[in-house]
Amino acid sequence: MSATSLTGPRSAAPGGSAPAGGAARRAAPAWRSTGALGLGVATLWLSVIVLLPLSAVVVHSLDGGLGAFWDAVTSRQALAALRFTVLVSLATALINVIGGTLIAWVLVRDRFPGKRFVNALIDLPFALPTIVAGLVLLTLYGQRSPVGIDIAFTQAAVLVALLFVTLPFVIRSVQPVLIELDTEMEEAALSLGARNATIFRRIVLPNLVPAILSGAALAFARAVGEFGSIVLISGNIPFKTQVSSVYVFNLIESDAPTSAAAVSTVLLLVSLAVLLAIRGIGRWGVRYDR
């Protein structure tokens, strides 16, 4: 596409005939059909729906001044909740790195009856409402557990809930890369006498690293903000199983919006950092590809 697209979509519009030589391509027709007006409306929509409310959180968090903000963020309960949230989310991401890669490998390279069915069900945690996910896990791993495992209201329960809702991220980001990966390299290594472990470590894994990392970052981001699946199973015990999102919810319910906004601002910063990290990984992955 040439620089003509910068001159604005309207200017190039009238008349159906294209320049005969076709040397200078015009702005993409699809882009002309929505044009600057469409972009303006869409950006306004994004601003009103997403950016305006989120900026309200940041502004309100400073309602009581910096001192109050700091007090709210560093109160013992807030710190304990944030610490547990970050640690349990890191654990979730780590387990997903191993479990997700393993499952992706099995789904791509292995063959067994019912594989397509299993593959389709991987996305269920995305489709299932989070509150239902929490209830589902509480049914199997709660007080009335039919298998005798009762982990309700423990930190382990929070981890299980987070593993459930983040299950698809690493699998779905590794799978396509693994499908595209040429097995010729592996066969060459095998014929040269490399052992399985060596082949995995030196050939398969390096190709998967960007996909694994971006999947893990998405899982981490999701875990930090998760609420619905945790609220029933965690029991919300301060200093033990209380995560930040549930803590914020309690602050809202107890009519402390400024403190809630302060803790939310910290969570927002974590989300932004993860988003930036994902974009960084994406760029690195593309460069790595070449």
Binding site: S5, G16, G22, R26, A27, A28, P29, A30, S33, T34, L39, A42, T43, W45, L46, V50, P53, L54, A56, V57, H60, L102, I103, R109, D110, L121, D123, A127, L128, P129, T130, I131, V132, L135, V136, L137, T139, L140, V160, L163, L167, T183, E187, A189, I199, A221, R222, V224, G225, F227, V248, F249, I252, P257, A260, S264, S271, V274, L275, R279
Partner: protein
């Protein structure tokens, strides 16, 4: 295949055990628990006036939120894939925010803008419009959380097909709108459909953001997910299971639609 049979089998067993313990058995159990006392009890509990109203409200909110986000998604995807403008990188990053931000923070953010003490709270109260603890708040929260789906599904499709066909149509004298309707839209329709399915699932299933702004007034601002929570808190386990099973059924239908569409997309069916 570079691993021997023994390794292959043990990896398969580990993967399937993990999936079974985390996913298959729990989801299967919810249906068993729901129907262990017979179908009649379940039917009764999902046809109470409160449940029917919750179902209607959920449907209503979805019907408002999904078309708006689909329209936004298509326009934004075209702007991102075809246009060149300043601030594109920034807008592109902002679109992912609803995925990254906690639903509780989303709910709080709406309270801080539209609530009684929020930025527009006073003006809205004077105009007699209630947003928070009312249906408009639920709609706003739902639009917020489901905003990125269509954009994120359509943008890569647009980039992949390129603009050659669109250029050709324009060369042959088609106007911008005709080109869009006859060339672009058919090419991206599976991407759009996939994004719509994901949006619908998210709209029906949203809990955190909605629970902050709804006020949970029975028969007025209760959605299906809020109903599950309320019944569970009121020790109506059977009722909570019944509503959950209904939601899980919707999720399974969504999954079926996703799988079918994925296959058609991969086959390049247009």
């Amino acid at each position: 295949m570079t691993v021997d049979r023994r390794w292959q089998l043990s990896l398969r067993v580990v993967a399937l055990t993990y999936l079974g313990a985390l996913l298959f058995v729990p989801v299967g159990l919810i249906f068993y628990r729901t129907f262990e006392h017979g179908f009649a009890a379940v039917w009764e509990s999902i046809t109470t006036p409160a449940a029917i109203h919750a179902f209607q409200l959920t449907l209503e909110v979805t019907i408002i939120a999904v078309p708006l986000n689909t329209l936004f998604g298509i326009v934004m995807a075209i702007a991102l894939a075809r246009g060149r403008w300043r601030g594109k990188g920034l807008v592109n990053a902002f679109i992912d925010l609803p995925f990254a931000v906690s639903p509780i923070v989303i709910g709080l953010s709406l309270v801080l803008v539209y609530g009684v003490h929020g930025w527009f709270g006073g003006a809205l109260a004077n105009a007699g419009i209630q947003v928070i603890f009312s249906v408009p708040g639920i709609v706003l929260a739902t639009i917020f959380v489901s905003l990125p789906f269509v954009v994120r599904e359509v943008t890569p499709v647009l980039k992949e097909i390129g603009d050659d066909q669109e250029q050709a149509a324009a060369t042959l004298g088609a106007g911008a709108w005709t080109t869009f309707r006859r060339v672009t839209l058919p090419a991206i329709r599976w991407g759009v459909a996939y994004g719509v399915v994901l949006s619908v699932a998210r709209c029906i299933g949203e809990f955190g953001a909605v629970s902050v702004v709804s006020g949970k007034i029975s028969g007025e601002t209760d959605t299906l997910t809020l109903l599950v929570d309320k019944r569970f808190s009121n020790f109506d386990l059977a009722g909570a299971y019944a509503a959950s099973a209904l939601l899980a059924l919707i999720a399974l239908v969504t999954l079926l639609a996703m799988t079918t569409m994925n296959r058609r997309r991969e086959e390049g069916d247009t």
